[in-house]
Amino acid sequence: MQLGKFRAFLIVYVIAAIVSANMGIWWQSMLTFAGITAIASLGMDLAIGYAGQITLAQPAFVAIGAYSSAILTTRYDVHPLLGVVVGLVIAGLLSYLLAFPLVKLRGFYFGLATLGFAEIVSVINHNAIPLTGGTQGITMIPYLSIGPFVFDSALKQSLLVWLVSVFLVFLCLRLGNSRVGRAYRAIRGDEIAASVRGVDIRAYRVQAVVICGLFGSLAGSLQAHIVTTVCPESFGLALLIKYLAIIIVGGLGTFWGATIGAVIFTILPEILPVPLDFNPLIFAVMLGIMLLYMPNGIYGAVSTMLRRFRLTYIIKWKS
């Protein structure tokens, strides 16, 4: 069933690709940013929405990916793809070292601890001038390239980012259908019961946080090679709130919800006739409305509607 859905979205991807090829650069850039945000949000959706592990350090992992790519490609002439891989390795290691000792903490306290980690990373980014360039950041980051193919235009970048994004959703859906996915949901539902019934809760809790960090790092690396600059301001609390709003509005644990949410929260602030400073307010209002009227998020509400529509259609047809 999930495979069929993937084919459907692949078709959507192709159509969207053809459509965006004919639109302006602004639209293509917006889509690219939405795609990058979707990748980072997807990691959060997996860890928080699906596995119930409140990890609030995602901006730090996006920063780790971004800075790794930036530093390696500008200062050491490393190939962009290798930079991405190194970023992933660092993010994977750090998220493991973060999660493993903290795994005895319950929910909220675990979240606070991850927030502490994010703050440490942020301080390093702002102050370790020889490494990160401090508040000036790093500029002149080269574009991504695979062999002779360079991703230098908004269109090429958005096609790449969305291909990766859709593929990652597919991986998450696959995970959901497996023993690991069930373990995550069981842990989210009732940790002690899951443990007594054979699920290694510590291992899976850590694993979920690590995968989340890896997604974040990938998003950060992509961002570095597309925006071509990194600065510490972009990886702060505001970004975390955006991710949380995205996964809640999109629908916790639905994976496609994170993608839909990312598109909404990237494009909406741009098209509303309100200054960008109002973003947190807009996000908060949207979050409030969603929690009141659509607690399962947009994806949840649409699924329910479709199910009801199919049901009434079948009933009408049979009578």
Partner: protein, 252 residues
């Protein structure tokens, strides 16, 4: 060597001595009843055996291996399953999925294989489904396989608890008040089910208040009061034991 040896288990919660030097054995294939007034420490004992609590003193030995310091999931994969007195569910998951989670410790595939969609994964998933369906059949729940677990009636919920314990094919099943909330007819069905499990050679540790459930199935009964064992023996023996009578009915 007994299947399960409880040796001098002691557990304190602050000032309360919940388990006081508990020692008894469960043999292979034996059904042992554990009875006692409310607050005697029965559930605490079961939680300690299944690794939710760590005892302060004493040892628990299962098939020759010390398990008192192991994590719950390790204890489960070694062959001890338990049901909960108040059914515990995973939100949003179906009945079948609950039981498939129960089979988790017998499966091996991980994240990478899930992403690749390997053949071994597909085979394992099919096996898990079969085992889960089998457990549902034994407990009479096959019709409800796709229902949300939270949508089940009370006796169905107890059946689900049992199915989740059975699917992992344990050597020892711990049943924590399985008859609570069941009607007389349902209790009869429960007794039959317990006897079927016993026939399969599994050892059973059973906590129950209803003597009509405990006595027909138990080979031996352990009586707890205030965290101590006050009597041990066959059903008839303990019913005649003075200490037991006092514990349940109060002093003269």
């Amino acid at each position: 060597m007994s299947l399960l040896e409880i040796r001098n288990i002691t557990k304190r919660f602050g000032g309360v001595l919940a388990l006081n030097d508990i020692s008894f054995n469960v043999e292979e294939g034996e059904t042992k009843g554990v009875i006692g007034p409310n607050g005697a420490g029965k559930t605490t004992l079961f939680n300690t055996i299944s690794g939710i609590y760590r005892s302060d003193k004493g040892q628990i030995i299962f098939r020759g291996q010390r398990i008192e310091n192991l994590d719950s999931h390790r204890i489960c994969s070694l062959g001890i399953a338990r049901t909960f007195q108040l059914s515990r569910f995973y939100r949003g998951m179906s009945v079948l999925e609950h039981v498939m989670v129960g089979y988790h410790s017998r499966m091996k595939t991980g994240v990478l294989e899930a992403w690749v969609g390997s053949r071994r994964l597909k085979r394992e998933e099919m096996t898990a489904r079969e085992k889960a369906s089998q457990a549902l059949r034994v407990t009479g729940l096959e019709g409800s396989a796709t229902k949300l677990a939270t949508a089940l009636s009370a006796p169905e919920q107890r059946a689900l608890e049992l199915a989740q314990a059975l699917v992992v094919e344990p050597r020892l099943i711990i049943l924590d008040e399985p008859a609570a909330g069941l009607s007389t007819q349902e209790r009869k069905t429960l007794v039959e089910l317990i006897l079927t499990i016993r026939q399969q050679g599994k050892a059973i540790l059973l906590v129950e208040h209803d003597m009509g459930v405990v006595m027909p199935v138990s080979d031996e009964v352990v009586v707890l009061n205030f965290g101590k064992i006050i009597a041990q023996g066959t059903g008839i023996q303990i019913q005649q034991d003075r200490n037991v009578v006092v514990a349940y009915l109060g002093g003269d």
